[in-house]
Amino acid sequence: MLRAVLVANRGEIARRVFRACRRLGVGTVAVYSEADRDAPHVREADQAVLLGPAPARESYLEIERVLDAARRSGADALHPGYGFLSENWRFAEACERAGLTFVGPPAEAIRAMGDKTEARRLMAAAGVPTVPGSPGPVADAPAAEAAAGGIGFPLILKAAGGGGGIGMARVDRATDLAAAFAAATRRAQSAFGNAAVYLERYLERPRHVEVQVFADRHGTVVHLHERECSIQRRHQKLIEESPAPGLSPATKRGLTDAAVAGARAIGYVNAGTMEFLVDAAGRFYFLEMNTRIQVEHPVTEEVTGLDLVVEQLRVAAGERLAWRQDDIVQRGAAVECRVYAEDPDKNFLPSPGTLTRLHPPGGEGIRVESGVETGSVVSVHYDPLLFKLIARGDGRDEALARMRTALDATVVEGVRTTIPFLRKALDHPDVRRGVLHTQMVDQGAFR
């Protein structure tokens, strides 16, 4: 087993990984910025190492300082969490070079899936359906126009080096393409340091359904069923659940088979997520692969009864997966709500500040994953996620009802949060019926 794991992250995910370490009797090392000196994740670890000033570029994203913290603390493994350096293949490679076990996939898998056009090519070669689009990045506006001819409008421009919805632009007419291409290229360059942009057909009102996969170093690849994550703003998820409501058995089977085949094709190891768009007819298309633990992993844990983070550590230590595919079953239903420090009445503008009061909910079937407490300063420098609420039930209705009660019982003072939005969303008749698509929030369904 591992000796001590450094978590190169903060907030709720750092605490989540520490909990898994304690279950296995593995030591814990926190890192932190000057802004996070008093953060709960720092107190909970066996050791804590200061990285640098508050801006992430000078602390959590500073590879040399993170590696140095591992050396000084005697950690022999590193868990990247999500965000920050988690999908930086150079960082994964640097960890291995420094003799640290990277709790995640091989650097090459991160690199290949991080290049969105290469990921599309690899998945298509593995027999996984992809959204119709340009085979690779397009060089200039005339090339974009030529590619658009075969794809049709509306289409979407995406950054080849991107993700998380950043830099994407919908184009409805051929006459808008040249200007949109120029803007998308500029934006991709400034956000990702890579101006390459490619085209995909824009799907109307698709669902976002993803499959959790897990692989060990001994050739076993399994899936842990699907998650429905269609309720998003700016292409970022707000509510996730498992199982995906109303998914036909044929579509479900197709998705899980494709996810396992895709992971196997790239020699994937550890936890990963294959994201798909599903259209009204049940056709599905590969969107991207996230080569890390996801924010929404708890809904999968709640319906399968399995601890994904413990398994990440075991697999990283070289052990065989503890599960066989047939043992992994969905029981009941689970839903997660992300509570962000954002103002839903002002188009989800950030709302930094000090949490003057925080009272998380409890009760049967409720789980809370929180990075903050009363008195915490919610800084402008990091992601606005405060905590996640997860509700489990024997069925979807029970899970949603428990979540609705939990949202009413939650008290957050000092910053504005997404809670009023989450309440409205859960009360919406389409959400209650399980009729969901990714454009609901932006189209104003919950105003």
Binding site: P55, A341, E342, L349, P350, S351, P352, G353, V380, H381, Y382, D383, P384
Partner: protein, 71 residues
């Protein structure tokens, strides 16, 4: 009549999009703030000429701080 442009959120100045003397239209970004991994433009409330820019890139501003003045 000079008009102060105030930050509508707390954030770090990511980019200064206009300089003194520039003519801007209503809704044009004058500065861009970064807060919680989002870039948020602070826009000119009306057309005019930028008289002053009161902030520098990398500086933290609070909600309600004056970031620029329109002529």
């Amino acid at each position: 009549m000079p008009e102060q442009i105030k930050a509508h959120i707390t954030g770090v100045v990511f980019q200064i999009a206009a300089k003194p003397g520039d003519r801007v239209g209503a809704g044009d970004p004058v500065i861009v703030l970064e807060s919680m991994k989002m870039e948020i433009p602070v826009e000119a409330p009306r057309a005019g000429v930028v008289k002053e820019i009161n902030v520098q890139e990398g500086q933290t501003v609070q909600e309600g701080d004056t970031v620029a003045v329109l002529e």
